[in-house]
Symmetry: C2
Subunit: 273 residues, 2 copies
Amino acid sequence: MNFLLINGEPGESVSALDRGFQYGDGIFETLAVANGEPLLWEAHRRRFFHGAARLGIAAPAGELLRREAEQVCRGAPRGVLKIMLTRGVSGRGYAPGPEAAPTRTVGLLPWPDYPARHRTDGVNAQFCHTLITRHNILAGLKHLNRLEQILARMELSGECAEGLMQDETGHVIEGTMTNLFVVSRGTLLTPDLSRSGVAGVMRDLVLERAPALSIDCRVAGLKREDILDADEVFLTNSLIGVWPVRRIESREYPAGPVTRRIQEAVRDATVAD
Amino acid sequence: MNFLLINGEPGESVSALDRGFQYGDGIFETLAVANGEPLLWEAHRRRFFHGAARLGIAAPAGELLRREAEQVCRGAPRGVLKIMLTRGVSGRGYAPGPEAAPTRTVGLLPWPDYPARHRTDGVNAQFCHTLITRHNILAGLKHLNRLEQILARMELSGECAEGLMQDETGHVIEGTMTNLFVVSRGTLLTPDLSRSGVAGVMRDLVLERAPALSIDCRVAGLKREDILDADEVFLTNSLIGVWPVRRIESREYPAGPVTRRIQEAVRDATVAD
């Protein structure tokens, strides 16, 4: 961590009794930072407050959060802004005690060293064996219970930059750290996240901007065969922007025209390599 | 925390970059302590090492763990021994970096102030709306991704000491912090935990000791109606031992003969009120 504020004060550590550490009881956001400025602030802020409300954790004032974000990002040519909010310290047991006051951390992390060719040439991906569960209540949230994504990520062979996760009904939901899009007979499709997965801010931006490009875009149930049959496949998140997928198992894809138009359409919201 | 060792040293805080705090990437155990001695040590130790292996986290030596446990429990008439193991500090991202060295915490916490009548007279319970997901890969483990249990627990009305959680197929899996048993036409039944839930040490002990009491005992799929139709219902964990359930919604149950015999059969492994 280049610079971290914990409840507004520079710090490095949290109580071992914090419910974030004890139970993963909290939420987080990661934002790309360019020229000292966090990108897509408003969309991340909105998801953060939505998540806090869903988990019943008192959120800090939006202005305070913004001020702390500016403070840690100031002067950084690029980086990752990570914001966390946990339910704070309380006694043992799942029920939060009345004494719990939320812990918020706002920190700047190094820009990840993904190769620039991931965006230009694309990446290989694989299907993971680790299933993603169908969480009614946690679906869409960027919460701190991330063991499934960790175990899926640990499966990746060295040549794959991302793993795709399916639920127990065989629906492909997302990548371990990305959202998934496919182009099939001219239509842009992305999995339904009403039961599982993280509703990514970059995914929302693609869905928002596709219509202006006259790209027909729909949320759909997608199975493994639908991915393998697709004409183009790409992955999104706030840090990577858009990565074309060039190969899954023995299937090769072009970094096709729809993928390139979407990349161009969200370029202003991503960090240049 | 009365007394906490973090990687063998007295401490109170952990790095904000610890993967326990960042992602709930770890496991834990809670043991009852009586007269300075952790109860059911061997069973908890076994589950702890099993969980660490399943998550691919290097476990400490068993002797080291035992020595630290003895150190924090020494002289405590009663208390709760909590042991945690996380994958430790690494950079951002779900893939653990090669630099991650596990964090282990061994601490003594106050004995919970459950009323003694919970064990003698029994408790009220309710069905929770929050579903428990069907985790193939995490089933049985006492891991640090506990948001579902927290959200379920937050539903409880003041008069209920425990909430029962169902999966999306309508099977009742466990309580938020306990395992569930029912007695139905003379047979003792407990839900199948191969897809969800925490395989409790006290549950294992009940399953192990029931045959010697000539109580027929089986793991079974149990739905809401099966619970409401049962003759007796009880809840178990390492701290509470066995709590009879006296009421769920409008259904009342006796603290019946099988429940009382099981309570007696595990008395040596529980803390006296």
